[in-house]
């Protein structure tokens, strides 16, 4: 087992190197660089451009060096935790992302938990009560959740929260706490604001998950081993939990791989509508303004999380399913 994990982790290294080269190439693809965008912006505002300053900045950031050198500087920096410098914010990328990353992860984790907590009981109910009124009703609500654009739902929720609970519009905390050190009241304020984005971001995911869980579980419920368990005299609820649900978990576990990257990138549009201080809008802006190191860092995060997520779900599958663990394979 340990050998297998080590092998998988070793395989991750070349994968990530290839991804980093691709990411770097993609950021560099649009003509020009940040400084040119910056100059254009200054000129359009009628300001003079100090050529010597630009040249200085160019040398400072290494933008005048050949492409492969720029890549090496960037890639080796990442290894020691230096993600480069954000031109837009005039700050190291680390500092720009720091607080936002924490809030993003907080929202995402709560959203994932929310999705699971709602989706599992409903999915199981829908599958075990197929074609009942309950199933139809919940499926109907689920489809509405799937079909409603998130930003629309966000606006509606904001309005309702403001009118009925007096929650301030937008953001993840009351304006008075922004840029303040963390305190008990600030945390409470965060929780007061958190549920709106959680519901907004979570609905479509929940609805999709209910549908998939229902479909998977329905397949499993037809299987002969379920009849066997029933013939043993097992109680129906216990039976569903022990056999078909356990089988249906495989799809769920393999889903974790794609879940992690969405922690960082997911729900940009919702985040913009709700003006959430998360990483989504920032990544969008960084890509637009060719703030290369910031954008590159985000893309690399996504890549690392994807690769790690796939590894995690593979390991979980091996742990959960003896067929994967024990069966031999035919080689050509």
């Amino acid at each position: 087992m340990i050998g297998y994990i080590l092998k998988r982790i070793l395989v991750m290294i070349p994968t990530l190197i290839v991804i980093s080269i691709l990411v770097f190439a993609i950021i560099q693809l649009p003509p020009g660089d940040y400084l040119e965008t910056y100059i254009a912006e200054l000129q359009s505002q009628g300001e003079s451009v100090d050529e010597s300053k630009i040249a200085f900045l160019r040398a400072e950031y290494g933008l005048d060096r050949p492409m492969y050198q720029q890549y090496l500087v960037w890639a080796s920096g990442m290894l020691v935790g230096d993600f480069g410098y954000s031109f837009e914010y005039n700050l190291p990328v680390n500092e720009v992302i720091g607080d936002r990353m924490f809030l993003t992860i907080a929202i995402s984790v709560v959203t994932i938990l929310f999705t699971w907590m709602i989706a599992f009981p409903i999915g199981i109910y829908s599958a075990t009560h197929q074609y009942s009124w309950g199933d139809y009703g919940l499926s109907f609500i689920g489809f509405i959740g799937l079909a409603t654009p998130n930003f629309l739902l966000a606006l509606v929720m904001l309005y309702l929260a403001n009118v009925y609970f007096g929650t301030s519009i937008g953001g993840l905390m009351d304006p008075e706490f922004i840029d303040q050190p963390w305190s008990a009241r600030k945390i409470i304020s965060v929780f007061e604001h958190l549920w709106i984005p959680v519901i907004v971001i979570g609905t479509s995911g929940t609805a999709a998950m209910i549908r998939r869980l229902r479909a998977n579980l329905l397949d499993e419920l037809q299987k002969q081993y379920v009849v066997t368990a029933r013939a043993k005299g097992m109680e129906e609820r216990k039976l569903v939990r022990k056999y078909p649900l356990r089988m249906a978990l495989n799809f769920f576990v393999s889903d974790i791989g794609s879940l992690l990257p969405s922690v960082i990138s997911g729900a940009e549009i919702t985040a913009i509508v709700l003006s959430l201080p998360t990483t989504g809008p920032m990544m969008l802006a960084a890509l637009q303004s060719q703030d290369m190191y910031l954008a590159g860092s985000f893309l690399m995060f996504l890549a690392v999380l994807t690769v790690a997520g796939v590894l995690l779900s593979d390991l979980l599958l091996v742990a959960l399913d003896p067929r994967i663990r024990l069966q031999g394979e035919v080689v050509k």
Binding site: K232, G233, L326, G328, V331
Partner: protein, 620 residues
Amino acid sequence: MNVLSVDNLEVEFSLHHGGIKAVRDVSFSVPHGRTVALVGESGSGKSVTAQAIMQILPKAARITEGAITFRASGSESPVDIASLAPDGEQIRAIRGGMISMIFQEPMVSLSPLHTVGNQICESVLLHQQASRQAARGIARDMLDRVGFPDPDQAMKTYPFELSGGLRQRAMIATALVCRPALLIADEPTTALDVTIQAQILNLIRDMQADLGMAVLLITHDLGVVANVADHVVVMYHGEIMESGSLETIFRSPGHPYLQALMRAIPHFDMKPDERLVPVREIRSSVGSLLQKDRKTSLGPGSLHLEVNGITRSFMIRNRPLFGKSRTLENRAVDRVSFNVYRGECFGLVGESGCGKTTLSRILMKALSPDAGSVTFHDESGATDVLGLQDEDLFGFRRKLQFVFQDPFSSLNPRMTVFDIIREPLVIHRIGDSDHHVRMVRELMELVGLDSRFLNRYPHSFSGGQRQRLGIARALALKPELIICDEPVSALDVSIQAQILNLLKDLGSELNLTTIFISHNLAVVDYIADRIAVMSRGRLVEIAPKEMLFNDPRHPYTRSLLGAVPFPDLDKPLDFDAVMDERASDPSAWPHPYRGGPADNLALVDVGNGHHVQMQVEIAR
């Protein structure tokens, strides 16, 4: 005293267009400690009856009338199961505790994610006041009693790690661990090989004597019934046709349906020209298009297909989580050589996993062997089949066609019957669409189907009809040789007789050479002229069929013949002879048949075209 008595049972399925009564006015009883067989074809309602007794009917079905009275022992008061709620506490105590059930497919009846031990313990914990520790002990003892060589190890294994026979044993252990008063066995041996079937039947008999339980055996196989049942109940279309003691049913079947069923089963004492009588006969006729160009200068009996030293291995890599990965070489087909002569039907018999399907795939060049050659002889001379490429291979396909085992998955559900049968003609660009229409109509008549059905889709046909469509498609190119891989194993006996007769007639009328692959010796005996027996990738015996059945030489052939249950009370199965699993283990064969360290086994001619695998030096 009766453990179970079913009175006027009626089960109705509610469908979109009203209800269908799957079981009507069914009454029978199961005496204490005896075996009652519920016999019928698929769709006769026998399984539904069993499900009603367990109250595990599908959602759409419910018991609309009648009583199911169950009495575990004389001291207990009888319970009417039909009146209990299907998921109530009362029925759950009976289910698995007092009435247990085993199913047809041991492959899918056990959960692949839980160990055998876990699944047996679960029954104990559900029905007995036992600690986890005690339950494990009880489960272990049960595994020991059903014949697991190492019960402690078995507790920890997963079902998919076991062979089919051991899986069914595990299933039986799960069902019997609570010592039920009644065991319902729903086709318990249908999915198993004959030798394993005999062992499982024997095990059920032993356990029955041991635990003093009654058995309700549901099966379509009259051979099995003749060997284990005390009473027989025959069902057809949801109703009981006839019931009585084993003696009366077999010695003097009264109902025409039962008589017809008996006549439809192939058995070993058939006279050379005796025909099976299907319950429903089909009419087939050979049209002019099919007869055209059938003439060949090569007479019957000349060499048609020559198979020489075919070997094919599969590598299985086992990568355990701990320790080194091992690659095992599994020889699916091992130096197989035989000849097939023009116009004959060559039978290939073997148990599942013996390599017969792999061999058939190689013959049609769907799979390439590691070594060996296949030579096809016709008017244009000898063709090296395995060396054919591109255009030549494409042309050769017209000479050799295939009929598949599963009539359900071998027809594209989105194509009409016309398109399915016509497709080979389109692929090989034979004739115009006018010709196609005439040819397809002829083919439909050939297999006895109404050509008005040409616009229908496969789903509107029964299993037997679909198999006939498969045969029509295989014959569209007017091949000289067809390979039939288990064409009747998915069909009921009455339908099986239809298809066998059809294949037999087509063989002689169209002058076809047939390679017929089956695990069922009686079927092969009926249709084949010469038979090859295959075991562990090797041919162990080849002989004309009379010789094979009258004078089987090889120990494997003998055990195979000894394990076939006859639907004949005067030929009971010798259960003691089949109880060991060594018959298919080459290292357990007696002296001249066992390979030495140099592996010097070869097919040796013992006279009159009878070949037996044995040590070469001995024969000389």
